[in-house]
C-alpha cells in the first residue's frame, strides 16, 4: 500500500494531469468569448506543479516500489521542464490568437507533454521511462501539427510521429534485452547486477546500443538527427522552441540516468562510442547550420550542435560532467526559447518571414527585440556574461577533468565555427537596411514580451551569477 509520502512525490504529475483534463473539459462547456482564460489557467497549473515539486523535494526518496525517485537530479529537471512550459505558454498565446486558433487543446497538450517529461526526469525504472517518453512524445507529435490546416504542420507532425515511433521501438527493444540479461528493469538493480559481472558483454552492449539509438533520436544526435530540421521548420514557431528544449532536456535526464547509473559499470565500453557521436553531432550540426537560409532550420541545426556539446558532458561520465550538462540544459532552455519567441514574433501571420534575410533592419524598427535576440545569439555563440558561455565552460572543464583533451579542443573550435552562422543573424538585423518584413511591424504582444524578457533575464543571470544553479546541479548531479 503506497504511503501518503509516495503520493506527495508524484503530486506534480497528478496536478498537471488534472489541469490538463480540466482544460479539455472547459473547452467543451465554455463559449468562445471566455477562452482567454486557458493560458492563465495552464500557467497556474504549472505554477502549482512547480510548488508541488518543491514540496516533494522536502521529503526526497523513492515512490511506488522504486518506480520513481525524487532526488535533486529529478527535481532539477522537473523544475526545468515546468519552467520551459511556462515560458512556452507565454510565447505562444499571442501566436495562437494571430493564427486564429483559440482552442484549449494546445495548452492541455503542453501540460500532458510536460507530465511525460516530468515522469522521465523522476523515473528510476525502464518501464516508467518508456511510459514517460510515450506520454511526452504523443503530445509533442500533435503539437507539431497543431495548425491542422497548414500543410507544413501536417508534414512536420507525420515525420515526427513516424520516426519517433520507430525510435521508441528501438528503446523498448533495448529494454527487453537488458531485462533478459539482468532480470530487472530497475536502474539501480541493473547496476548492481552488472557490477557482479558474469553477463555476456555482447548482450549488455547490444542493449545499451539499442537504448542509445532510441534516446539519440530524441536528443537529435547524429546519425539520428535528420528529422529535427524538417520538424522544427514545419511546426509552429513556439512549438519548435518548446520541442528543442523540453523533450530534449527530459531525454538527456534519462540518458544521464540510464548510462551513468545502470550502465555505469560498463562505462569503458560505451564512452568511446558516445565520444564519436558527440563529435559527429557537433560537426554535422554546425556545418549544416552554416548553409541554412531559413531561420527555423538554422536554429534546428544549431540545436543539433548543442546536443553535441551536451554529449561531451555525458562522455565525461563524471559528477562534474552531469552537473555541467544540467547547467547547460537550463541555460540553453532560456536562450533557445527566447530565440524562438523572437522568431515567432518576427515571422508574423502565417510565418511569412522565416528567412534569415527577412530579419533585415529589424534593429532599427524594433531595437528592444533585436537587442534581446542579440543576447540569445551571443549566448548560443558562448560569449561571456551569458548562460551559454558558462554552460560551455563547465562542459569543457568537465571534459578536461576526464582527460578528453581532443574532444575539448575540437568542440571549442566547433563553437568558433558556430559563431559564423549566429553572427549572420546579427548581421542582417543590425547591418542591413530594413526590408519588407521590418516595415510596419506591429509591436510585440504583452505575453510575448514577458516571455522574451524573462528568457533574456534568465540567460544573463545565468551568465553573471551562475553559482546558485550550478551549486544545486553539482549537489544533485549523478556521481
Amino acid at each position: 500500500m503506497p504511503t501518503s509520502a509516495e503520493y506527495m512525490r508524484v503530486l506534480p504529475e497528478i496536478i498537471l494531469t488534472l489541469f490538463g483534463v480540466l482544460l479539455m473539459f472547459l473547452e467543451a462547456v465554455m463559449d468562445d468569448d471566455n477562452k482567454g482564460i486557458f493560458a492563465p489557467l495552464s500557467i497556474a497549473g504549472l505554477a502549482a506543479g512547480l510548488f508541488a515539486t518543491l514540496m516533494a523535494y522536502l521529503n526526497p526518496g523513492p515512490a511506488f516500489q522504486n518506480m520513481l525517485v525524487v532526488d535533486g537530479f529529478s527535481t532539477f529537471f522537473r523544475i526545468l521542464v515546468m519552467g520551459v512550459g511556462i515560458l512556452a505558454i507565454f510565447s505562444s498565446s499571442g501566436y495562437l490568437r494571430r493564427e486564429g486558433s483559440r482552442g484549449s487543446e494546445f495548452y492541455a497538450l503542453i501540460l500532458f507533454s510536460i507530465v511525460g517529461q516530468s515522469i522521465m526526469a523522476a523515473a528510476n525504472e525502464l518501464i516508467m521511462i518508456f511510459i514517460g517518453l510515450e506520454i511526452s512524445s504523443i503530445a509533442s507529435y500533435i503539437l507539431a501539427g497543431y495548425l491542422r490546416d497548414d500543410p507544413r504542420n501536417n508534414e512536420s507532425a507525420l515525420k515526427y510521429f513516424l520516426l519517433g515511433s520507430f525510435a521508441t521501438a528501438f528503446l523498448l527493444y533495448g529494454v527487453a534485452w537488458i531485462y533478459g540479461s539482468t532480470g530487472s528493469t530497475n536502474l539501480v538493480e541493473i547496476r548492481r547486477v552488472l557490477l557482479t559481472g558474469g553477463q555476456p558483454i555482447a548482450l549488455v552492449s547490444t542493449a545499451a546500443a539499442l537504448m542509445f539509438v532510441g534516446l539519440a533520436f530524441k536528443i537529435s544526435a547524429v546519425p539520428f538527427q535528420s528529422w529535427a530540421p524538417d520538424v522544427y521548420q514545419g511546426a509552429p514557431a513556439p512549438v519548435s522552441g518548446f520541442l528543442s528544449v523540453g523533450p530534449k532536456a527530459a531525454a538527456f535526464a534519462v540518458l544521464l540516468r540510464v548510462f551513468m547509473t545502470a550502465f555505469g559499470p560498463v562505462a569503458s565500453s560505451w564512452m568511446p562510442f558516445i565520444w564519436g557521436v558527440a563529435l559527429a553531432t557537433m560537426i554535422v550540426g554546425n556545418f549544416a547550420a552554416i548553409l541554412q537560409s531559413n531561420i527555423k532550420r538554422l536554429l534546428a541545426y544549431s540545436s543539433i550542435a548543442h546536443a553535441g556539446y551536451i554529449l561531451v558532458a555525458v562522455t565525461a561520465n563524471s559528477g562534474a560532467g552531469s552537473a555541467a550538462a544540467m547547467f547547460y540544459l537550463a541555460a540553453y532552455a532560456f536562450t533557445n526559447l527566447g530565440a524562438f519567441a523572437v522568431v515567432s514574433y518576427f515571422s508574423r501571420k502565417g510565418e511569412q518571414f522565416v528567412k534569415v534575410d527577412d530579419f533585415a533592419g529589424l534593429a532599427q524598427r524594433q531595437p528592444a527585440m533585436a537587442a534581446m535576440m542579440t543576447i540569445f545569439m551571443l549566448s548560443l555563440i558562448g560569449v561571456p556574461l551569458t548562460g551559454g558561455f558558462f554552460g560551455k565552460f563547465y562542459i569543457f572543464k568537465a571534459a578536461l577533468d576526464s582527460n578528453l583533451v581532443w574532444l575539448t579542443v575540437l568542440g571549442l573550435l566547433n563553437s568558433a565555427v558556430a559563431a559564423y552562422y549566429y553572427l549572420r543573424i546579427l548581421v542582417v538585423m543590425y547591418f542591413r537596411e530594413p526590408g519588407e518584413a521590418a516595415e510596419n511591424i506591429p509591436p510585440a504582444g504583452a505575453a510575448l514580451q514577458i516571455a522574451v524578457y524573462a528568457a533574456a533575464l534568465g540567460t544573463v543571470l545565468l551568465g553573471i551569477f551562475p553559482s546558485t544553479v550550478l551549486d544545486f546541479a553539482s549537489k544533485a548531479a549523478l556521481k
Binding site: L400, L412, S415, A416, F431, P466, S467
Partner: protein, 508 residues
C-alpha cells in the same frame, strides 16, 4: 571599492545611460558620451598618484573578491606599471574618439556612442584583470562592440570585415579558453597571482610538452590580435572598413590586447616554452616588420597603408618582447604606447581627410598643404613621429627594441632596422603625394583647414608625441620595474625547469 573599480564600471554605467537617451535627440547622446568619457578620463588620472613620484612594487588599487564560488572565479583586478599606461591610453582615446565622430557619424548616433563606451569597458577590463577567467571574459566582451562598430558604421565591405574580425579572434580565443581550463585543472585556481606563486615555489610544474601546448594556445590567441605575420589578414580589412573612431580604437588599443597578453601571461606562465619558441617567433616578427613595410609601400589606399604600417610596427613590439632583454622589453611596452598615440593620430588625420574629400585613395589628394596648412603641419608631425624621428615618441621605443635585440642577436637588428628605413620611405612618400604639389581643383574645393573640434581632438596626442619623445622619465621607470619582474620570472632557473621538465615530472 577602489578608484580602479570606479574607472572600470563607469563605462558600463555610461553604456546603459546612453541607451536611455531618446533616439531622436542625437546631440544629447554626443554630449552625454563626451561628458561620460571625460569624467572617466579625469578620474583615471587619479590612478597615476602612486606612480608619480615612486614606483610601487606589486599591484596597486587591487580588489579581490569572490565572483563565482565554484569553480573559484574571483573578481581580481589591479594595476601595475604595465597596465597603468594602457588604461590611461584607453580613457584618453575614448573622449577623443567621441570628438572625431561628432559629425562623421550621422546615422544611429546613440547606438554608436553606446558601443564606443562599452568598448572602453571591455578594454579597461582586459588590461587590469588578474584572474585568468575574468581576463577571458573581458577579452571576449571587447569583441562585441567592435564588431558592431565596424559592421554598422563601416564602409562598403564592412560586413565581411566585421565577421572576419570576429571569427579570427574567436577561433584564437577558443584555444586560449581550453588552455585556461587546463591551467585551472592543474593549479586549482584561476588567480594569476596565485598561479605565479605556485609556479615559483615549484608546487605547479608544467612539463615541457604540456607547457609548449599551453604556450601555443595562449600565443595563437594573442598573435592573432597583435597581429603577427601570417595571422594578420583580418587587420587591413577591419581597418579599412571601420569608421575612423573604430580604426583608432582598434589600432591604438585592441592590438595592444595581444601584445599585453604576451607580456603579462605568455612569458611569466610559460617561460621555458617562450624561450624555446623565441627563434621562430622572432623570425615571424621580423618577417612581419619587412612584409608590412613593403606592402605599405605599394598601397594606393591611405588607410590600408597605415594598417600595414601597424603590422610592421607591431612586429617591433613582438621582437622586443622575445629578445628577453630589459631594454628590448622596455622598448616593446613603450612602443605599444607610442603606436597607440601616433598611429591613432594617423588614423584620425586620415579620417579628417576622408570627411572632406570622401576618398581614401592617395591619388585623390595632392597639394592639400595649400588649402589646409595647419592640417598639413599636424600630419607632418605625426608622420615624423611615426617614422621615428628623434625627440618624438617612436624613436625611443624603436631604439630600445633594437638595442635589446642587438644584445640577443645582432643579425636580427640588421633586418629590423631595414624596417625603420622602409617606414620612412612609405610615410614620407605618402605625405609627399598627398600634401605637396599643386592642389587640383577638387582638392582645393573640398579641403578646408582644421576646425576647433578637430584641433581639440588631435592636440592631446601631439603633446604626448613630444612628451613621450623627450621626457621618458615620466613613463619608463614604472614600465621598467614591471618588466624587470617579468624577466626575473623567466630567468634561466625557470627555463631550466622547462628543459628538465621530464626529470622533474619523474621525480614527482
Amino acid at each position: 571599492m577602489s578608484l580602479l573599480d570606479v574607472v572600470l564600471f563607469l563605462p558600463l554605467l555610461g553604456f546603459f545611460v546612453l541607451l536611455m537617451v531618446p533616439k531622436a535627440n542625437e546631440q544629447a547622446s554626443r554630449i552625454g558620451a563626451l561628458v561620460i568619457s571625460l569624467v572617466i578620463f579625469v578620474l583615471s588620472l587619479g590612478l597615476l598618484s602612486p606612480y608619480w613620484f615612486a614606483t610601487p612594487t606589486g599591484y596597486t588599487f587591487s580588489t579581490n573578491v569572490s565572483w563565482i564560488n565554484y569553480p573559484p572565479i574571483r573578481y581580481h583586478v589591479g594595476l601595475d606599471g604595465l597596465s597603468l599606461w594602457l588604461v590611461l591610453l584607453s580613457t584618453l582615446l575614448t573622449p577623443i574618439c567621441v570628438l572625431i565622430s561628432w559629425t562623421y557619424i550621422a546615422k544611429r548616433v546613440k547606438e554608436f556612442y553606446a558601443f564606443l563606451i562599452l568598448l572602453e569597458f571591455g578594454l579597461i577590463g582586459v588590461f587590469i584583470s588578474l584572474d585568468l577567467f575574468l581576463f577571458y571574459t573581458f577579452w571576449e566582451i571587447s569583441l562585441v562592440p567592435m564588431y558592431f562598430l565596424i559592421g554598422i558604421w563601416g564602409h562598403e565591405r564592412r560586413i565581411y570585415a566585421a565577421v572576419k574580425f570576429f571569427l579570427y579572434t574567436m577561433a584564437g580565443s577558443m584555444l586560449m579558453l581550453a588552455a585556461i581550463i587546463y591551467v585551472y585543472n592543474q593549479s586549482g585556481t584561476f588567480d594569476y597571482v596565485d598561479i605565479l606563486s605556485k609556479l615559483r615555489s615549484g608546487q605547479l610544474v608544467f612539463e615541457a610538452r604540456t607547457q609548449m601546448f599551453l604556450f601555443l594556445a595562449f600565443f595563437v590567441a594573442f598573435a592573432i590580435k597583435v597581429p603577427l605575420f601570417p595571422l594578420h589578414t583580418w587587420l587591413p580589412d577591419a581597418h579599412v572598413e571601420a569608421p575612423t573612431a573604430g580604426s583608432v580604437m582598434l589600432a591604438s588599443l585592441m592590438l595592444k590586447m595581444g601584445t599585453y597578453g604576451l607580456v603579462r601571461f605568455c612569458l611569466p606562465l610559460f617561460p621555458g616554452a617562450a624561450h624555446a619558441s623565441s627563434p621562430w617567433i622572432v623570425a615571424l616578427a621580423i618577417t612581419g616588420i619587412l612584409y608590412g613595410a613593403l606592402v605599405a609601400l605599394v598601397q594606393p589606399n591611405m588607410k590600408k597603408l597605415v594598417a600595414y604600417s601597424s603590422v610592421s610596427h607591431l612586429g617591433f613590439v613582438v621582437l622586443g618582447i622575445f629578445s628577453f632583454t630589459q631594454q628590448g622589453m622596455d622598448g616593446a611596452v613603450y612602443q605599444m604606447l607610442n603606436h597607440g598615440v601616433s598611429t591613432g593620430a594617423l588614423f584620425m588625420l586620415v579620417g579628417y581627410l576622408y570627411e572632406r574629400r570622401h576618398s581614401l585613395e592617395i591619388a585623390a589628394y595632392g597639394g592639400v598643404a595649400t588649402p589646409a596648412p595647419n592640417l598639413a603641419a599636424v600630419f607632418l608631425i605625426t608622420t615624423l613621429a611615426s617614422v621615428g624621428l628623434p625627440t618624438l615618441n617612436n624613436f625611443i621605443g624603436e631604439y630600445l627594441v633594437l638595442q635589446g635585440a642587438s644584445q640577443a642577436n645582432f643579425t636580427w637588428v640588421i633586418f629590423a632596422a631595414l624596417g625603420v628605413i622602409l617606414s620612412a620611405c612609405y610615410m614620407l612618400w605618402l605625405y609627399q603625394r598627398a600634401f605637396y604639389g599643386k592642389a587640383s581643383e577638387s582638392v582645393s574645393h573640398h579641403i578646408y583647414d582644421l576646425k576647433p573640434r578637430e584641433w581639440a581632438a588631435i592636440i592631446p596626442l601631439l603633446i604626448l608625441m613630444v612628451w613621450m619623445g623627450t621626457f621618458t622619465q615620466t613613463f619608463l621607470p614604472s614600465i621598467s620595474a614591471q618588466n624587470a619582474q617579468i624577466l626575473e620570472s623567466t630567468r634561466p632557473n625557470q627555463a631550466a625547469a622547462f628543459l628538465n621538465g621530464a626529470e622533474v615530472n619523474r621525480a614527482r
